[in-house]
């Protein structure tokens, strides 16, 4: 069964304190690893897609990386506005939809 597991469930950082979120997956024949950001009371917002081991993508203070078994979302010098739940996902059965992890809730304290 395809699975996507995220850790930690929650993370509190001081403003400027860099860290990483983890997403491990057991999906045969990975066809993309997706990262989303979700603010309270909102729908998930697309951030990145990674397709092959070694690939990296960046957006402002966020950098996503991919290995054969996991992906990391690195947050460099975070600001309070980076506080959100970060979701990762991989294509599910049939390759036409996504299976999501349970998310990491990030809180950045001023």
């Amino acid at each position: 069964e395809d699975q996507v597991t995220q850790s930690p469930e929650a993370l509190r950082l001081q403003e400027g304190e860099s860290s990483s979120l983890n997403c491990s997956y057991t999906v045969s024949g990975l066809r993309g690893l997706f990262w989303y950001r979700q603010d309270p009371g909102k729908g998930p917002e697309f951030l990145f897609t990674l397709y092959s081991a070694g690939e990296e993508k960046e957006k402002e203070r966020l950098k996503a990386t991919l290995t054969k078994k996991e992906s990391f979302l690195h947050i460099t010098a975070p600001k309070p506005e980076d506080s959100a739940t970060y979701l990762c996902a991989a294509p599910g059965a049939g390759s036409y939809q996504l299976t999501f992890g349970k998310g990491t809730k990030l809180s950045v304290i001023p």
């Binding site: 917002e45 697309f46 979701l87 036409y96 996504l98 998310g103």
Partner: protein
Amino acid sequence: DAGITQSPRYKITETGRQVTLMCHQTWSHSYMFWYRQDLGHGLRLIYYSAAADITDKGEVPDGYVVSRSKTENFPLTLESATRSQTSVYFCASKPGGPISGNTIYFGEGSWLTVV
């Protein structure tokens, strides 16, 4: 403004009542999805549709009915609401073809409480 619109955004209903959540997208995307999001479970797929008049079950379809007579609309009906269906429901869409090379875009969500 283009995008996905869900209605109602908030709904309280009683056990046993029928409830329909509406979803409308303006991108002409082929695929549309309904997910529910619950604490401890994350986002789980209820139903999806590849095109008008084509629908298929996801991970948690029991108690739900969908239809898609027009490409832009994908309503989700709870035929007889139960308390376990209290959740946040997200409609989503993507262009045609496999997920690789595309992405799924989400609406703002519909908060449903069944009392």
